[in-house]
Symmetry: C2
C-alpha cells in the first residue's frame, strides 16, 4: 500500500465498492510511556498505512508503525498547530476513501479531552464506521506514579476530570462541585491555575485542600510536587512547572507515596485463617 497522503483526486465514492474503502481507528496512546499502550493499540499501529498523531504522543510509540507507513504529526509544538482540526478530518476521510487503513493516534484516551468526538462525528457524517480504542487516560497514569488513589473508601466517592482550559481559554464553571469527599483532576490547567484555585475556593473548598502537580507523568522528565489550593500559584512559579502537567485536588492527594525510601519492613501479620480463595495452580 502506498503510504503517501491522499491525492487531490480520490475515487468518487459512488464508484467505490464498500470492500475497497479503508478504515479509520481513533486510538488512545496512553500517557506517554511506550509500554502503557494497550495490545489493541499496538495491533492497530502495526496494520496502519498512515498514522496521524499529536503532541501528547511520545515518539517512541511510533516504533510500532511499519516502516512503509506514513506518520503525520498534526499536533502543537511551541504553540504552533501543525494542522488545523478540519484539515486533519479531511485528510483522514480522504485517505480512508482511497482505501487506506488510517490510525488517529491521540495522547491518553480519545474521548477524554482529545477532540475524538469531533473526529468521530465528522467521519460518521460521511458514512464511515470508526473503531475507537480506549487508552489509559493521563489522570490515572499520574495517579499511579504519584501513588494517589483517585477514589478511596470514606475519602472520595467520585472523581471529576475537568479541562483547565476551555475553548475560549477560560476555566469551566465549578459551581457546586467542591465537596470534601470529591477528587478533581484538571487537564491542561497549569496556565489557568490561579483561576482554578479561585473557583475552587469560591465553590467551597478550603484553601488548605491538598493539591498534587504531576508533570510529564510516566516520561523521563516526570516530577511530582505537593501543594495546596492557596499555595498553588506560588509553587508552580517556584518549581517552574511546564506542560504537560495535571493537577489532582482533594484529600486523596495526602495519601500519596511516602517520600522516604528508607522504610523498614515490619513483622508480617499472622497468616489469615480464612483461606477459602479459589486457587488455580498451575494455570491451564
Amino acid at each position: 500500500m502506498n503510504a503517501t497522503l491522499a491525492t487531490n483526486t480520490p475515487p468518487s465514492p459512488t464508484s467505490v465498492p464498500a470492500a475497497a474503502l479503508g478504515s479509520v481507528s481513533l486510538v488512545g496512546a496512553g500517557p506517554g510511556a511506550k509500554d502503557l499502550l494497550t495490545l489493541r493499540a499496538v495491533e492497530a499501529l502495526a496494520h496502519a498505512d498512515v498514522v496521524y498523531y499529536d503532541s501528547l504522543v511520545d515518539d517512541d510509540v511510533l516504533d510500532f508503525v511499519p516502516d512503509a507507513a506514513a506518520c503525520v504529526f498534526v499536533g502543537k509544538r511551541k504553540g504552533f498547530s501543525a494542522m488545523p482540526q478540519q484539515d486533519i478530518q479531511d485528510h483522514m476521510r480522504n485517505d480512508a476513501l482511497a482505501g487506506k487503513t488510517v490510525v488517529r493516534l491521540k495522547g491518553g484516551d480519545p474521548f477524554i479531552f482529545g477532540r475524538g468526538g469531533e473526529e468521530l462525528q465528522d467521519l460518521h457524517g460521511y458514512g464511515f464506521s470508526v473503531d475507537v480504542v480506549p487508552g489509559v487516560t493521563s489522570a490515572t497514569a499520574a495517579a499511579a506514579v504519584a501513588g494517589i488513589p483517585l477514589t478511596h473508601r470514606d475519602v472520595a466517592t467520585s472523581v471529576t476530570f475537568a479541562t483547565g482550559h476551555t475553548t475560549n481559554g477560560d476555566v469551566p464553571d465549578l459551581t457546586g462541585l467542591a465537596l470534601s469527599d470529591r477528587t478533581f483532576v484538571f487537564y491542561m490547567g497549569i496556565s489557568n491555575a490561579p483561576k482554578i484555585a479561585s473557583q475552587l475556593r469560591h465553590s467551597g473548598a478550603p484553601g488548605t485542600t491538598p493539591v498534587a502537580v504531576i508533570e510529564q507523568a510516566t516520561l523521563p522528565g516526570q516530577r511530582i510536587i505537593n501543594s495546596t489550593i492557596d499555595a498553588l500559584e506560588a509553587d508552580l512559579r517556584t518549581q517552574n512547572i511546564g506542560m504537560p502537567a495535571l493537577l489532582i485536588v482533594g484529600e486523596v492527594t495526602a495519601l500519596g507515596v511516602p517520600k522516604s525510601d528508607s522504610l523498614i519492613p515490619l513483622a508480617p501479620s499472622p497468616e489469615p485463617a480464612n483461606d477459602f480463595a479459589w486457587v488455580h495452580h498451575p494455570m491451564g
Copy 2:
C-alpha cells in the same frame, strides 16, 4: 520459585536482607477484553509468582501468567466474597516477605473504585514499595464501544466518575453536580439506579437528560441501551440489565454511534490546501 501460597511461618523480616524481599504490583487489567491490557501489565503478569485477581478480570487475561505461578481468585461471585479485603492484604504482604513477585490484578484501573488505595496504604505501612500499573478504566472502554465522547467541545467540559454504591450501600451526595455541560458515569449503579435518577433530578438535571447503559463493555455479552433519567428504572427492568454495567449520563450520550449500518459514504471534501504537517516517511 514455589508458587503455593505463603506458609504460616514466613521468615522474620529482621533476618531478611532487602534483596530477598519480593515485590508487589497493583496492576489494572482494563475493562475485560484481553487485548485491552497494557504492555506493562502483560510484562508484570509474565514475571509473577502469584496473581491475586478479582471478578472484573476476564479469565482469558490469565493466559499471560506463567504456568508455574499461582492464580488466586479473591473477588465476588454470586454475592459471595472469596476472600475478605484484610486477608487479601495479609496474603500479599506475606508472599512478598517470602520473596515472591506478587501481582494484584484489578479490573479497570487500580485507583478508580478498585480499593487499590487501601492495599497501597497497607503495603506502604509495612515498608514495601509498590508499583502501580494504570489500566483502561471501564468508563472510557464503555464510552469507546458506544461511540460516546465523555467530553466534547461546547457540550461537556468535565466528566465525573462516581460510585453508584457506596460502602453503606447508598448513592453518594450529588448535590450541585448536575449542570448541563457535565457528563457523569456511574460505576456499579444498576441496583441503585432509581436513587441515582432521583438524586440527579434533585440536583437539577431534567428528566429528559439522555442516559446510556453499557453492560459488559468489550466482552462478548456487551449491550448498549439508550434511555433517559426518567425512563431509566423501567428500561433497566425491561431489558433485564445485569452486572457489570455502567451508566453514562449527559448530553454527550446523544452523540453516540448511529444505530444504522446502512450509511453511505458521501463525496470526499476537497484535499485541504494547508499541508504543512510534518510527514515522516518512512519511519526510521
